[in-house]
Symmetry: C2
């Protein structure tokens, strides 16, 4: 038995964690572009990274450290330090070497343009502005943004039956892009739960599947996608079920927020796929729907185009049959198991639903029990404008 | 030894083939919307169809016939007869039953809106307008169009060393879409070569991989994609190598034309991937590049964004390394095996290349000998306009 309560504080909600954002001159004007997350005691750290084989330097640097504990994450925006080769990793070592004495085994995370070396001097100077006693989680969440239009943070307090209390908090950025080739998704999660590295890694891996990996803005997997989870055990307490549920809520919230903030997106659409041969097939269908250009443009046009949804299901590679497939927009069924169900009245109702900025499309494949939910957005002129904008 | 010569005549170039297009009132005004291909002697027929599991009724009707010879293909546009269930197949039987006596085992092909029953009476009436003595290949090529902006046909005469002569001709439509959910690619190929059904099917299957299946406008595989190849053996002669080369030229030409005509497309881009672990990996990379939203929008913006290309290669699932990858826009190398190669001069040269409406991007993965070439186009405002346009 446990109680979950949403609280303020983002990555500083858990005991002993500090964060802030500063302006190092990487972005124009006085915009914040560097952040840190610091714990006053050493942390276990679990992480998941992009599956893109062109992993950015910060990810290679992290992986090369093997088993380690840390108390510091340095984050910069505007430059992803990707495709920078060995020099990119060397730049990280040089930067981290300049951090204060009480920083142990620091790691770095970057997001921004691909293929340009880090502006080392500016970053070293920016790090000197960090005040490790600050708990400005909101400013940190802002500093890691690239073209997000709003910062993303969330935290929970978990109270256990025996009175024990622990916290999980997080910040994330992603799904907004102005400069060409800007890397996408970063998420930093902190907790004072007394949880082992192995347990954290296991729960993190499991939750990534149905949250961040279920979200798609444009189907492109960047060179820098990162989720880091740090625990300093300061609460002295833990409960696996409560921790898993809270972490899932946090990751699901952030994944949805990223898609909602997708460039040029006007709609957050949830695709609930059920009745598939198995969960893997349901996932294949759900992801195909989030990535289909024809479905995304139909969403933008608020056109209840179930034919494109059916075609995308059929093309996905998953097992599917015309005769057992049912498609609904919220509670309006537009296609049912081989019957052309779509008349003027249906179309009107479905169109009304599509005018909302968030709704669910249900696809029941009618074969077995496979189930998966994914999150996508529409594709409109703004996406093209943002991404075709010549900018080097 | 053989000689290939491009000739006029499209699907009527081969001896004994006839074709025409008529207006049945499916499209607005007097636009042609129904076509036929007829041979005055029975044909062997080989075909490849979409891998989409929601195969349209005409494809199910064809497959249900098992082994057969035919002398007639009926084609209509505006309606794909897809997601129409058993009734859709029944409609085909009723329509085909009204054709003249000399038509044997006719098959049907449709393209257009998904999820609406065929306008049977109009189609039956339209078929009565067919004059089987006509050889109007251009009109037939026009009648099968949906939102193509130009018709697509091509033919070759093949002269063998021993003086024997045969012909292969073809027409196709595809990659243009106005109405939501309009089905995409149809191709009809005729030949008087004295080739067996088995040989034709084998050569067709092999050539589809590097031509139609290497072309992508928006990555969506329709419910109706079809290639039909009919041979009536009237030339009495055949040569496997010559036939294969001519067929490849024809299919490659039509595949490229389809992409060039892709909705809203302003650029036809050829992605030549080499140095992959194997051909399968090269194909994975090439297709990923044609389908990446970020690469496509960069093409539209004429932005030499090699970072997105590298990221797409890395995300594709194929084996790839930063240190062995080389990327070039035509003869301008923008990234070479781990070295950041891109300066202001490079950028200027690469931008100039991207202003052309057709060019090649080379990706050498530098691992082994895997090779594949794919064709894609850019993604601009027009694509969104065409596909988001509310139309039911």
């Amino acid at each position: 038995m446990y109680k979950l309560t949403k609280i303020e504080g983002g990555v500083c909600a858990a005991e002993g964690f500090y964060a802030d954002g500063v302006s190092a001159g990487l972005k124009s004007g006085a915009a914040k572009d560097m952040a840190f997350v610091y714990s006053d005691t050493l942390c276990e750290i679990a992480a998941t990274f992009t599956t893109n084989k062109m992993t950015a330097a910060p990810i290679r640097h992290f992986k090369a450290k093997g088993e380690f504990q840390t108390n510091f994450v340095l984050i910069n925006s505007k430059n992803a330090n990707a495709m920078t080769g060995k020099a990119g990793i060397k730049d990280i070592d040089e930067i981290l070497a300049t951090l204060p004495q009480n920083v142990k085994n620091p790691v770095m995370s970057s997001t921004g343009v691909i293929g340009v070396r880090l502006p080392k001097e500016k970053i070293i100077a920016g790090a000197k502005l960090f005040d490790l006693s600050k708990q400005n989680s909101a400013t940190a969440a802002e500093a890691i943004m690239t073209t997000d239009t709003f910062s993303k943070q969330i935290a929970y307090e978990i109270e256990l039956a025996d009175g024990g209390v622990f916290h999980i908090g997080a910040m994330a950025k992603g799904a907004g892009m102005i400069n060409p080739a800007m890397a996408t998704m970063l998420c930093f999660i902190t907790t004072d739960a007394n949880v082992s590295k192995e347990a954290m890694q296991k729960i993190l891996n499991k939750n990534v599947e149905t949250t961040f990996n279920a979200a798609s803005v444009d189907g492109d997997t960047s060179t820098n996608d990162t989720v880091m989870l740090l625990s300093n055990a300061k609460s002295g307490t833990y409960n696996e079920e409560a921790f898993t549920v809270a972490l899932h809520n946090i990751m699901l919230f952030l994944a949805r927020e990223m898609v909602r903030d997708g460039e040029g997106a006007t709609k957050l659409v949830t695709y609930e796929v059920s009745g598939a041969k198995d969960n893997k097939d349901a996932q294949i269908v759900a992801k195909a729907l989030t990535n289909s250009l024809l479905v995304k443009t139909a969403l933008y046009g608020e056109d209840p185009n179930w034919g494109r949804i059916a075609s995308t299901v059929g093309a996905s590679g998953a097992l599917s049959y015309e005769d057992t497939l049912t498609i609904s927009f919220e509670n309006v069924c537009v296609y049912k198991k081989g019957k052309l169900y779509f008349d003027a009245e249906m179309e009107k109702k479905a169109s009304e639903i599509m005018k909302m900025d968030s709704f669910t499309i249900y696809c029941d494949l009618g074969i077995a029990d496979g189930y998966f939910t994914a999150f996508g957005c529409d594709l409109g002129y703004e996406y093209v404008k943002i991404n075709a904008d010549y900018r080097t």
